[in-house]
């Protein structure tokens, strides 16, 4: 049995990123959940949301959250699939698919955030 380059995963940095992003998400998400789902007084309505989303600070937070969460989550998905799928071509296929999904959703989400304007 040889453990050689062709199976090398470069997992170290991804693993590290997973922990770091996890920490970041823990903070942002905790606030996010508290503010939006728990402590929210009114119905979630366009007005309340949109007002917040439009400020530059929230824009940055939201976009970074979007990117980090996508990367964290999709890499997590890759990890899960990688545990069970061992054929090389399947792995390549899945890696590509996940990358495409990631790219599409990042752009899609980011466009929503950036382009959004409210009351001004």
């Amino acid at each position: 049995m040889r453990y050689n380059e062709t199976t090398r995963s470069g997992g170290a940095l991804w693993w590290f990123f997973h922990r770091l992003s996890g920490l970041y998400l823990a903070i942002v998400l905790f606030v996010h959940v508290l503010v939006l789902h728990v402590l929210m007084k009114d119905e979630l309505a366009y007005g309340t949301i949109a007002e917040r989303v439009a400020t530059p600070l929230w824009k940055t937070i939201n976009i970074s959250f979007l990117v980090v969460a996508l990367m964290h989550g999709l890499y997590g998905l890759w990890l899960v699939l990688g545990d069970y799928i061992h054929r090389q071509w399947m792995r390549i296929l899945i890696w590509c698919a996940i990358a495409v999904i990631g790219l599409v959703f990042t752009i899609y989400g980011a466009l929503t955030m950036i382009s959004f304007q409210y009351g001004g």
Partner: protein, 237 residues
């Protein structure tokens, strides 16, 4: 004295069609009887075809690891009456190919060990007529690492191994870290080379089954977390 039923998962390689099946044996068990004593008693007095590995019967050779009531342990260190209950299930360790009855193939274990270059690597020649010095504090760092008896309980219990037959395995990670942590070893990079691999460290999801299963109370997860950090440190320069 108590009558205990031993429900043993059996498999005869000469009878592939029958596959795995459970067979029950009854035995009068006294206080102090270990599971290995009981199995021997069954083999010697009831059914000579019952097959399992054993040697030291004192918990140091690692031969008699098996799945007892659903958890891996050494038969020779298990007090039958200590398990409670009147039926005891005994199975070969999960995840390894079964050779016969409770005997499993050790190939995955050996493969994992070989992957981490399991020997001390030094480049500087040792001092002549003298040992390499190592302070008691440095020596303490390999406590909990060198005691591994290679029984295979840990890797057999690991869900990552169940999913990936080529997973290097916690026993081998522990071995790797035994050298990485040794102040005398100069080959950390070589021991860790195979670990940054898709069958390596990153397949470990901190499940802790290995720790629960280790009959020597070692902590492969701790070794794994140290190794992961070490690898990241090296990557980040």
């Amino acid at each position: 004295m108590a009558m205990i039923t031993f429900r043993i998962n059996r498999y005869n390689p000469d009878d592939e069609r029958r596959g795995h099946y459970a067979q029950e044996y009854q035995l009068d068990v006294q206080k102090g009887t270990t599971l290995l004593d009981a199995l021997n008693e069954i083999k010697w007095k009831q059914d000579g075809t019952l097959t399992f590995r054993r040697s030291c019967r004192s918990g140091i050779c690692g031969s008699c690891a098996m799945t007892i009531n659903g958890v891996n342990n050494l038969a020779c260190e298990t007090q039958v009456l200590g398990l409670g209950g009147s039926t005891i299930t005994v199975e070969p360790m999960r995840g390894y190919p079964v050779i016969k009855d409770l005997v499993v193939s050790l190939d995955p274990l050996v493969r994992g060990i070989l992957a981490v270059k399991p020997y001390m690597i030094t480049h500087s020649p040792p001092p002549s007529d003298q040992e390499r010095l190592q302070s008691p504090e440095e020596r303490e760092k390999i406590d909990g690492l060198y005691e591994c008896i290679l029984c295979g309980s840990c890797t057999s219990s690991c869900p990552s191994f169940w999913a990936d037959k080529e997973y290097i395995g916690p026993h081998a990670f522990l071995k790797a870290y035994r050298f990485v942590a040794d102040s005398r070893d100069e080959g950390s990079a070589e021991h860790m080379e195979a670990l940054d691999d898709r069958h390596g460290l990153w397949r470990c999801h901190t499940i802790f089954n290995c720790v629960e299963a280790c009959p020597k109370d070692l902590n492969p997860t701790k070794a794994i977390s140290e190794l992961k950090k070490e690898l990241v440190r090296r990557k980040l320069g």
